[in-house]
């Protein structure tokens, strides 16, 4: 059983759910005033996870509008959320699935359109009612800040079936068999992907700064053992460039997209 609760401000009509696309149009015509009422509704689900509880915050977004990833891109605001458990402890370490990109007038944003789910893991022993709070900015050509609070009893609850397809888009660690390498060579980030039709880097705020705000693309580079190799090479500079840098890598193969957690190791000169 799932619990569907509207934002605290008002009830809105649930719209048609759209599957996320990799590039959504942003800014279809001059728009100066947002429509009446909330543009996003939030539903909360939960399931057992690693001995604790995983909470999923599901956002249903009015078609054509979007909310933001942890790095919103050129503009916008990261979606935030917290869960306060019955013992009064607040948890706020959100996990973001791989985003999509929005582009207009040379400005790029990262986020979710149509529908999206963020996750927050609670420790073993969590039971009873929790308070889930979230704030987001929803934009098309113009923006509207919204928020919601939902109370949910997580005891014995298992909404795994409704969470699975979103969890499958959480970035996972790169394994040797994935055909992905991430290296740092003399101030250059080098990422290679073999056997993929395309690959896209979504940088964290720190990695974006280290890239000097540039958005490097993957280029077809060579053929190794009959596999085409896509490669991204980008200079790292700036104050945050020497530390470990993070991002999300989307790889599109015939089997569909996979999101990887990308970590560029610290520069050797920053080692203690």
């Amino acid at each position: 059983m799932t619990q569907l609760l509207p934002p605290r401000s008002a009830v809105w009509p649930l719209g048609v759910v759209l599957l996320a696309a990799t590039l959504l149009p942003w800014g279809v015509s001059a728009e100066t005033t947002p429509p009446e009422g909330p543009l996003v509704s939030m539903e909360v689900l939960s399931r057992p996870h690693d001995g604790g509880t995983r909470v999923g915050l599901r956002y249903r977004i009015t078609p054509g509008w979007h909310i933001y990833w942890e790095n919103p891109g050129d503009s916008g605001m990261a979606t935030s959320a917290s869960v306060t458990t019955s013992d009064g402890v607040t948890h706020s370490a959100l996990q973001f699935p791989g985003p999509v990109a929005f582009e207009a007038d040379g400005l790029v944003g990262y986020g979710y359109g149509g529908e999206g789910m963020l996750f927050l893991d609670l420790p073993p022993g969590t039971s009873g009612e929790v308070l889930v709070s979230s704030r987001w900015l929803v934009c098309r050509e113009i923006c509207q800040p919204e928020s919601a609070e939902v109370r949910l009893d997580v005891t014995g609850r298992d909404d795994g079936a409704g969470m699975a397809r979103f969890e499958s888009t959480l970035p996972r660690a790169i394994e040797e068999s994935d055909g992905v390498t991430v290296r740092r060579r003399a101030g250059t980030l080098v990422v290679t992907v073999s056997g993929a039709a395309s690959a896209t880097l979504f940088p964290s705020v720190e990695l974006e700064a280290a890239l000097g705000g540039k958005r490097p693309s993957f280029l077809s580079e060579e053929i190794v053992n009959s596999d085409a190799v896509l490669a991204l090479r980008a200079n790292l500079s700036g104050p945050s460039a020497d530390g470990a840098l993070h991002g999300v890598l989307r790889v599109d193969r015939a089997t569909g997209p996979t999101f990887f957690a990308l970590t560029a190791p610290p520069s050797p000169r920053s080692d203690p």
């Binding site: 100066t32 503009s75 582009e103 207009a104 050509e141 113009i142 974006e208």
Partner: protein, 220 residues
Amino acid sequence: MIRCLTLASLVLALPLMGCSPSPANAEAAAKESVAPTAAAPGAATLGEAAPDFTLNDLDGTPVSLSDSRGKTVVIEWFNPDCPFVKYAHGRKGPLRTLAATHAENGIVWLAVNSGAPGKQGAGLERNKKAVVEYAMDHPVLLDESGVVGKAYSAKTTPHMFVVNEAGVLVYAGALDNAPLGNSTGATQNYVDAALADLSKAGAVSNPSPKPYGCSVKYGS
């Protein structure tokens, strides 16, 4: 398509950028045209000379960055209908009194609206009302062509820039760490901190925190 149009508009803008009017002829240029003049010699870069520009204020008077040579100048990208600007200039917002407070120390504060005609928050009448609504004492300059905004790579409202007394761009980033008043820790006003660093004749310690807010409503 959008990219092509953007590139085309930039190409069209290049002659304007290359023909930056000097302060001496800026007034004459403004009188020749009802539209605000906008010119910038090149892209703004932290640590380098801030590109000069001339834009009309809401009374039609041309204002140039170089008019304030020898003074510290804060440039605030502005859209009166963006929720972040509404909050920041609202009764409890961080921009309600910040400009006036620093004006007492001789700091010049300029708001620039790069919204294209018809876009949210754009236009002379809307901005005249906003100045009253937000009790703003500092000028709002209209940059409807977006030439100045693009020269400064202004992406959001508010996106804040600080030019020091030597005319060097020393800050380009967020207003603070509290979008809409919400911060995860103690609230820090980055612009206030940058101006404090400059007042101690020091370098700005945090010169480019990532800006947040609405996208600047450029024309295509």
